[in-house]
């Protein structure tokens, strides 16, 4: 194999894996909500985008520093996540998933329209950090901004793991997702756990949205569809309901996307990512870590 091609390949793979952590975060969000409610929230990517725009608004109106922009993006998305819960999930029938699914599709379109309307459909510059820094590992360059994106996403995952595995809140969340009936009889209010899950996954989504925009340096409404579709693919590959699956799936989507970009160019890239999805759906529909065992 041609040495330069080999280096290009490794470079694409590295960039893809670093950026794939944003897809992993979105995938975790889909998976967590599905875990506690057994329902898909298709408005999740759009809510993440809307939150990111809240951060952008602060950036544009009073030139907020990047840290504050990122923070507002994450928190804004958390608040919107809770609104989505109240609009699409809280009052729809619990045993009829189609109702909340369609409500969340409506919400996805609604949020997108609002964002496009407010931003006139124009892309805006979004703050990005360590843009000019690079770490050179031989012939492979690690971009500073991507490394930052990767670092923030990994920290977000670490905090999530601490929440889920070390705190009563996480324990309650896991209890509800394993045995909803027994959890209610242990005194856990399922509504409250659902609400907190939507808030926390909203924050994760906002971090993913902010980091996506930070990696590109630009925020545009198209990002919503990208986050939604790539996040869902990550979850299908990893297995819906599995957090490690969502992480592996996200990294895989990120890597595949960049490698196909190198091999086939930007116009064909997504076709091959969809083919990957197709292959998983045919050959391993449950995903890599898929399992719904141990539940009613």
């Amino acid at each position: 194999m041609d040495y330069f091609f080999f280096i290009d390949f490794l470079q694409s793979l590295t960039d893809g894996l670093l950026f794939g952590t944003t897809y992993a975060l979105i995938g975790i969000g889909f998976t967590l909500i599905f875990g506690v409610m057994r329902k898909l929230n298709l408005a999740y990517g759009a809510a993440a985008l809307a939150g990111t725009y809240i951060g952008l608004a602060a950036f544009l109106s009073f030139d907020a520093p990047p840290t504050l922009v990122f923070l507002l993006s994450a928190l804004g998305s958390g608040v919107i996540g809770i609104l989505v819960y109240y609009c699409c999930f809280r009052f729809t029938p619990a045993d009829y998933p189609m109702a909340s699914l369609l409500a969340s599709v409506g919400m996805l379109l609604f949020i997108e329209e609002v964002v496009i309307h407010a931003s006139h459909g124009m892309p805006f510059p979004y703050p990005s950090v360590f843009r000019d820094a690079t770490i050179e590992l031989g012939d492979i360059w690690i971009r500073g901004d991507l490394l930052f994106v990767f670092g923030i996403c990994v920290v977000a995952m670490a905090v999530l793991f601490w929440l889920l595995y070390r705190t009563p809140l996480g324990l309650a969340t896991r209890a509800v997702s394993q045995q909803p009936r027994a959890a209610a009889l242990c005194g856990i209010d399922p509504t409250r756990v659902n609400l907190l899950t939507f808030g926390i996954t909203g924050i994760l989504g906002g971090i993913a949205g902010a980091m996506t925009a930070a990696a590109v340096g630009v925020l545009s409404p198209i990002i919503a569809m990208g986050l939604t579709v790539k996040g869902l693919i990550a979850v299908v590959i990893g297995g819906l309901g599995s957090i490690p699956g969502a992480i592996i799936g996200g990294l895989l989507v990120g890597a595949a996307e960049n490698i196909f970009l190198l091999l086939r160019g930007v116009t064909e890239r997504d076709i091959y990512v969809m083919l990957l999805l197709f292959l998983f759906l045919v050959l391993r529909p449950g995903g890599l870590f898929g399992s719904t065992a141990g539940r009613d």
């Binding site: 070390r166 705190t167 309650a172 045995q179």
Partner: protein, 255 residues
Amino acid sequence: MLALDNLSKHFGGVRAVDAVDLTFREGEIFGLIGPNGSGKSTTVNLITGLYTPTTGTVMLDGHDLTQMAQHERTAMGVARTFQNIRLFGNLSVAQNLWVAQNGRTQRREHFMSRWFKAGGEHGPEIEDLLRFSRLHTKRDLPASALSFGEMRRLEMARALASNPRIVLLDEPAAGASLEDGQLLAERIRDIRERGVTVLLIEHMMELVMGISDRIAVLNFGRKIAEGTPAEVQANRDVRAAYLGSKHEDEELIHA
């Protein structure tokens, strides 16, 4: 303490529970028996809040539970175990207890200390329950790794972890051998020693007759008898329900 008044649950035309009145007294072991499909499980589900009754009320010490959600009833002091075990399989033994203990305390504590305080699975109350269920050597194993009997013991301990006033045991002897039944009887008495009223739903007649202070019999959703074990055993309707009317009476008495 716990009183069911004119309690009914109809599923379409089926009267699963039909105008049942029952009163459980503080500190007693109350046996609820009846043939399959007689409405025992439906009654339990009405008490714990899975179903809303068609008619009637569930009162606990003067508080009306009838319209409360399941987790609110748990906070009021109603706990249960399940006939088909429902543990949190991926959580450790100690964490299963901690979840129930935490669910009970969540109303009293501040938000941050309630949801973000780590390490609660080592509290003294949890150690006590681990000893009670003889699972202290397995405290860090996932609940799904336990044997069947251990799972039953853990479920019982989990019900106690929510600090209930009354605990509903739904067929705790199902799948157990006769010797296990002896140990089970001791454990149920232990629960009563802790000041918790016990409602025992069970098929194993020897167990129910041996430890219950009072017994009620359901058949086709209706209460057909209530009284001490001896009174219930002597009741004609009960024999008819269990054995068929022309059957000899010996079996129930000696079973």
